[in-house]
């Protein structure tokens, strides 16, 4: 039986109405398009009155389908679905088409705009009659959660969820939790001691009954879907039996092998071959670095084993893989520091007294290699002058186009520390100083008062080639002082390079494991940059902290908490509704060719060997439709985006085009379609 379609053209004030002849479009639809029983135009369809038009017509005219020509569906699709629902129509029987963003706002020529609107409406009408009533599907939610990464963002998220009374698996690749924050001395802009605020949280994690800490471990694979994930976790061998170890540290004391610590000490300090990254490490259990351990390299030593009072050392330990069931996953894998060697004109690695920001953080830390003393590479001499170089590897298309966000404030913090701990003068070379959070601009003002110098100009090169008297034995920064428009050479004893924050090398890899995409830069992509910043396109997977983009501590903590809130919300609901836009396979038509099996990145398509048929795990399907268009037998159909629906929309559009051709009036075709005038 024929459907009864109602068409509603929105003027959006003059936004659409000012360019598109809405009454004409409505009239044309009524007269030219099959199944259209009602066709109206109205000033504001999204207004209550506009929505009432739809509801009433559904009741009075017995509409079975609704087409709305207005703004972008991304704005008001929900609105008009609800209106249809309120009128007693299944919301998925409403089709919206975009006459504003895609027509009136981008077209100068009115005739052209009107013609284009007609064809879009025609497309929508043809499509809507093929649409089917759909209902969202409920699935249960497991109340365990996996948090990947135990930096400050992951720690915050884990604690929030655990405190809400739910079990958390907290995964950390390094031997200890704490992340980068554990390496810092002070935090901007308040200058409170990083360890003092982090350490308590770390021991909370250690003691929390709802948190199961999995350190020295990585996520091997993730399968399943929202509410019902299975995670495989690979635990590397510490060579120390955790339950037996008391963390007394005797083994570390006795270990004869000293190694440069490129991880925690950023390369300016040493550790033993059996070590604990830092005294307050959580857990306290040490690990053996098998690359450097004398026993593993040469086959003899075993000092640690000899001296261990509880016999906890076990050189035969092997890695283990375990599987955990979780309902939600939070990614908080953080960032990695930019390799300053790549900017060879800055001479890092060539000139001893050029340091990276992370090296300097460790130097300032009273628990660091220099006991907090600011000294040159020789380890004793205090610098008389220090230069801080901004944007090293940031805002630079040769390295990373983005702004790393935190460096400006960290540079101010460094400036303060230098002025506080030494008699040196400090000069910062910046392009723009970005201090746009609470208390940040005030901190900048404070540093001006404290006598830190600022030069606006990106440093062109750093050299030890003296040119003028007074430059001998110094490191010279050459830059243009852009506020003076003059080239400037600035000799100093010590340089600090504010290196960029970069995505982890394996972030893309991890993204593919869990079905989260990465931006071109390699940061995880959130569902919506403004309105949904911690969710991802994969339901049940959330992001927090710097793995989603450079962030400072406050922002990371906020995101950790936000992600936790989303997870707790999910758990409390017990079950979640998933959009019904999914694919399904018609067994009659499926030839078992398995072409579709390889097309799905979510592993939603399974193959039944007995029946030799492919099948789709509905809850896993995200509805992209790639398998639908890939099936040679047309056996797969995509709900709400079926071949019939899309081809009908195409027919509708072509219908107007052919009609236009016939009448010669076809939309833009008479006048030259208005271009940038």
């Amino acid at each position: 039986m024929a459907e009864k379609v109602g068409v509603y053209i929105c003027h959006c004030g003059s936004n659409i109405g000012g360019v598109v002849d809405c009454p004409e479009v409505a009239k044309w639809a009524r007269e030219n398009l099959e199944d259209v029983v009602v066709s109206r135009d109205y000033k504001f369809m999204c207004s209550a009155l506009g929505q009432d038009l739809i509801k009433d017509d559904i009741a009075k005219e017995g509409l079975t389908r609704v087409v709305v020509g207005a703004c972008s569906p991304h704005l008001h699709e929900k609105t008009f679905r609800n209106a249809s629902k309120a009128g007693g129509l299944n919301p998925y029987l409403m089709q919206m088409t975009n006459l504003r963003e895609h027509v009136s706002w981008v077209t100068a020529d009115k005739a052209a705009a009107t013609g284009k609107s007609k064809s879009l409406i025609s497309g929508a009408v043809h499509r809507v009659v093929h649409q089917e009533a759909l209902a969202p599907m409920p699935v249960p939610v497991n109340d365990h959660t996996l948090v990947v990464g135990a930096g400050i963002a992951g720690i915050q998220a884990a604690l929030e969820i655990a405190d809400a009374g739910y079990h958390v698996y907290l995964l950390e690749r390094e031997p200890s939790i704490g992340g980068h924050m554990a390496k810092f001395d002070k935090t901007f802009p308040t200058l409170d001691c990083s360890a003092c605020i982090l350490a308590p949280k770390m021991s909370d994690i250690d003691q929390h009954e709802n948190i199961e800490l999995l350190t020295y471990s990585e996520l091997e694979s993730l399968s399943g879907y929202v509410g019902n994930f299975k995670a495989n976790i690979r635990k590397r061998p510490r060579m120390v039996v955790e339950p037996d170890c008391t963390g007394c540290g005797l083994c570390i004391e006795k270990c004869p092998k000293r190694v440069v610590d490129t991880e925690f000490e950023a390369g300016i300090g040493y550790r033993k071959a059996i070590y604990r990254p830092f005294p307050q490490a959580v857990p306290k259990i040490p690990v053996i670095d098998v690359e450097n351990c004398t026993y593993f390299v040469r086959g003899k030593c075993k000092a640690c084993e000899k001296f261990c009072p509880t016999g906890a050392v076990d050189f035969k330990q092997v890695e283990e893989v375990r599987e955990v069931d979780v309902g939600n996953v939070i990614l908080a894998t953080g960032w990695k520091p930019f390799d300053a060697r790549r900017v060879s004109q800055y001479g890092y690695g060539r000139m001893a007294n050029v340091f990276t920001s992370l090296e300097f953080e460790r130097m300032c830390n009273s628990a660091g290699p220099t006991d907090g003393k600011i000294v040159m590479r020789d380890g004793v001499t205090e610098p008389k002058s220090v230069a801080i170089v901004h944007c090293v590897g940031s805002r630079d298309e040769n390295y990373n186009p983005y702004c790393s966000g935190v460096c400006c404030m960290a540079a101010l913090k460094f400036g303060h520390l230098v002025l506080e701990k030494t008699d040196a003068e400090v000069t910062s070379f910046y392009i723009d100083l970005r201090t746009n959070q609470k208390g940040y601009e005030e901190f900048y003002a404070r540093l001006l008062d404290e006598g830190m110098n600022f030069v606006r100009g990106k440093v062109a090169e750093i050299t030890d080639a003296a040119r003028y008297p007074g430059e001998e034995g110094k490191i010279i920064l050459q830059a243009e002082d852009t506020l003076l428009g003059r080239q400037r050479r600035h000799p100093v004893d010590m340089v600090i390079l504010m290196g960029a924050l970069e995505p982890r090398d394996d972030s893309k890899e991890l993204g593919i494991k869990v079905g989260v995409s990465c931006s071109m830069d390699g940061w995880f992509t959130e569902r919506h940059p403004k309105l949904d910043p911690v969710a991802t396109m994969t339901d049940g997977i959330f992001v927090a902290g710097s793995c989603q983009g450079p962030k400072d501590i406050p922002a990371s903590v906020a995101q950790g908490a936000a992600a936790a809130a989303r997870v707790v919300g999910m758990i409390n609901r017990k079950s979640v509704m998933v959009e019904p836009v999914v694919a399904s396979i018609n067994d009659e038509k499926c030839s078992g060719c398995r072409i579709c099996n390889t097309l799905c990145p979510y592993g939603a398509i399974t193959f039944d060997v007995q029946k030799s048929l492919s099948g789709i795990e509905t809850a896993l399907c995200k509805g992209c439709g790639t398998c639908v268009s890939g099936c040679p037998a047309n056996a797969i159909s995509g709900a709400h985006f079926s071949n019939a629906q899309i081809e009908a929309e195409l027919d509708g559009i072509l219908f107007e085009i052919q009609q236009g051709a016939a009448t010669g009036e076809g939309a833009p075709l008479a006048e030259k379609g208005g271009r940038h005038e």
Binding site: V260, T262, G267, I268, G269, Y270, R341, S344, Q345, G347, Y348, G349, R350, M351, A352, N353, T356, P369, T370, V375, M376, R377, D378, G379, V380, E461, T463, D464, A465, A466, R467, E472, G473, I475
Partner: protein
Amino acid sequence: MTFAYYPGCSLEASSEAYDISARAVCERLGIELQEIPDWNCCGATEASALGYLSGHALVARNLALVDKSLKDVVAPCASCFLNLKKTDKLMKEDRKIGGKLAEALEAGGLAYEPGSLRIRHLLEVVHRDIGHDRIQQAVVRPLTGLRIAPYYGCQVVRPVGDSGDADDPEQPQAMDELFSWLGATVVDYPVKAHCCGGHMTQISTEMSNELLRRLLYTADEHQADIIVCACPMCQLNLDAYQGKVNNAFNTAFDVPILFFSQLLGLALGIEADALGFGKEIIDSKDVLAAKLDQEETAETPSAPRRTRRVSRSLPMPKKD
């Protein structure tokens, strides 16, 4: 291996020594050079200052004249090298201009397929294509005892239209490695890729003198016996104008400036006269005689930047 050879104007006149030594070295290393027939000037840095298309057309003619059976053009002159590369890249990447240049070539009955030639600098060919093993085998007269400041200048190392595998444009290594293979002591010459002033010697002696002074001063600070060049302009400026620099700043620089190919030739056992020695204005005979084979004494002061290692000293960042 056979390469098309583009000597360029300077190598015909002021820098004959470069041409002679380049040919000699290549012959010794089994590189056959086929000079481009009737090649013309590349326009240096001057032609494109007045005409855009004509500037590139000048270069394009040379590319078009290369025997189509050859895949590589080798140019010893930095400016020639860069100009050839730039024009080739432009023709390849900017369809509009590429088309016009093709049309211009056609007017002369010539044609060139952009990207069909690899534009190489002599230094790269020796360093990459011949490489460590074959060079070391060929060395008969190591340059032991000689402190070398490798000076690359600008246009050899700036990656204009290069693939990613080009040498570091800021701290290039090719010459450093080459001369360490030859047994010389290579000083870490921080200004190795700074500019010698190019044509500034013709325009403003004040400015060019200063640029040259910087290079000489740093070489002196690092106790270099000789500065080696891979560019005729660099060599000419440092060599011919060294006296003027001394007058201008009353300094007493007296560093011989040689082409890398000359010293390489010496190490390969080629006779000095067959390498154009003696054409340099600051004579290099005495230095070579004095230094060669004098094993470097232990307490040769090294570059000032090296901080003396105290037990408390912090580790340096690892290489690579």
